[in-house]
Symmetry: C2
Subunit: 333 residues, 2 copies
């Protein structure tokens, strides 16, 4: 295992120390239980957004805490759900009196723990709503999931719902917008290589030198099919077809196209992927009105990419364009 770490058991807390040292203007870090909040939390009268999940997907979620996005993020151990006490304490810390929205990726542990935290927070008098993301079209059920996995759309939900909250929409309105984004979003991923969880010390799965896995999950869960490596043209066609046909996205639609790197894929390849996706969608009469290209929801050092599409309307597009100022996503501020 080749990683820039000290002891596997210290990776997450040392990462948090790094975030705390790097971004005191944007975030504060709380330890035991571990969570990251906006430097100015709680923001009075604003709906607060809380997300979280296993570590190893950086910048998601901790890198998305700040103006126009999350109020708090709860990092679990690598690829392991955070605990209800993290979520409960984070929820109470950011509650500005207008309620708290939990954004939860559809994995059994995350769902269960966020539900427990929401119940406890409600018991403490905090109004809590939850939105579950489940945009991955690759498989119906998966290793850690009943139903579809929550993947790339989560990043976009956090941005767009975060902007809605910043505009002082109500908890119900922010939750409805988040659900609209999830409902109109679809994703699929693929891997060229596995990743290695520090604690495990060996690759999560094995892929031959000439193989790839289509439909991979963000924890290396099995996808749809393992096959010989193909050209990026063929890879994008497989993934984009599955995504477009699922919603379906139709000719004349305007979309946000998100080409995401899995952690070990360089930007030069992501732009080659984007070029293929652009051409594919053009052929289907679908216009990319906005895009996001980079490694935003990762799987440690896995090589590969995912594609997420979101059907846009004027409101979602305006919320996407709104200012954001976080360690991992920033514009207009």
């Amino acid at each position: 295992m080749k990683k820039l770490i000290n002891k596997p058991e210290d990776v997450v807390v040392e990462e948090l120390h790094g975030i705390e040292a790097a971004h005191p203007d944007l975030v504060k870090v709380h330890y035991e239980p571990n969570y990251i909040v906006r430097a100015d939390a709680p923001v009075k009268g604003k709906v607060a957004l809380v997300s979280g999940g296993g570590s190893g997907h950086e910048p998601m979620h901790g890198g998305f805490v700040g103006l126009g996005m999350l109020d708090a993020a709860c990092p679990g151990a690598v690829f392991t759900s955070p605990t209800p006490d993290q979520m409960l304490e984070a929820t109470k810390a950011v509650n500005g009196g207008a309620g708290v929205l939990h954004i939860v990726k559809n994995y059994t542990g995350d769902i269960m723990n966020f539900e427990m935290a929401a119940d406890l927070a409600r018991g403490d008098g905090v109004e809590v709503e939850s939105v579950v993301t489940n945009d991955d079209v690759a498989v119906k059920d998966s290793l850690y999931t009943a139903g579809r996995r929550g993947v790339g759309i989560t990043v976009i939900v956090e941005k767009i719902a975060g902007a809605a909250a910043e505009r002082k929409h109500s908890l119900k309105e922010v939750a409805d917008i988040a659900r609209q984004v999830n409902d109109n979003g679809r994703s699929m991923g693929m891997a060229l290589t596995s990743c290695t969880v520090p604690h495990a010390g060996k690759p999560t799965f094995e892929l031959g030198d000439d193989e790839m896995e289509i439909g991979i999950g963000i924890h290396g869960e099995p996808g749809r099919t393992r096959m010989k490596l193909k050209t990026v043209h063929e890879i994008v066609e497989m993934m984009a077809s599955a995504i477009v046909d699922d919603l379906p996205y139709k000719s004349g639609d305007q979309v946000l196209a998100f080409v995401n790197g899995m952690g070990g894929t360089p930007l030069i390849e992501l732009y080659v992927v984007y070029n293929e996706l652009h051409n594919f969608l053009k052929g289907r009469g679908i216009k990319i009105a906005r895009n996001l290209i980079g490694s935003y929801i990762t799987s440690l050092e896995m090589a590969g990419c995912s594609i997420t599409l979101l059907e846009l309307d004027d409101q979602l597009q305006a919320l996407w364009d709104a200012p954001v100022k976080t360690p991992g996503m920033r514009w207009g501020a």
Copy 2:
């Protein structure tokens, strides 16, 4: 070779098509010769900044074209200098009448070709100055370099000199600021794995499963030493000591600290590196006043990192903070 590409010989042009499709609001792409310019180039009365180099280091340089940074970037083939005609055409395309600054990393091919382009541009009546970056403390001479290699400081030179140009400083002033940044900056890199140039089809060098290379160049050129993998604490101590002792940076100094990923290293590890660097510098009495953490000057899919320090004064810090709006770096706009 596992890459998201079609044919190796088409990678760069397909990447350029991707950039063109993704960022029409920020940049325009010219083909044959290949270069990227600001969408609003030439900006009348502003010193124009032109850089370039081999592809494979994305987002550098093409991702740094836009307001507050470069006016043009010339991408060569992967790890290969661009040609004088690219540089000449880019220089003429962005000349707004206030002169053009060439920012050149110290590699023999880049130096030679930029010199030729500068001479030709001057023959065409364009005022040109050149600044060479050579911040890598690892080795004195290298595979493609007489003298020190230009690495991470180049990103910071482009940001700070770009801000100075935006403020309508003269060509001499912008060049002087760029030289000051280079003179006060030092870097060192390391690799956990090699990278594979698409055309070559096999790793540039071999590293054992338990080995790393300290002082690696951004094209995989040999560094100072190959050794058994150590903890990130020991790795950062080796790199940061070499950097700090070289200038030297002294107790009481304020620095910009740049922790850079080589392309295949996930963000979680870069924050662990940053935590170690923060502690190391604190121990030396050096204060990190600004930081940059992410993969900005990469070596394809190489796993590893580099550290760059820049001694700041009030002017440099203000220029660093100034708005920037490019595909690869953006804040305040």
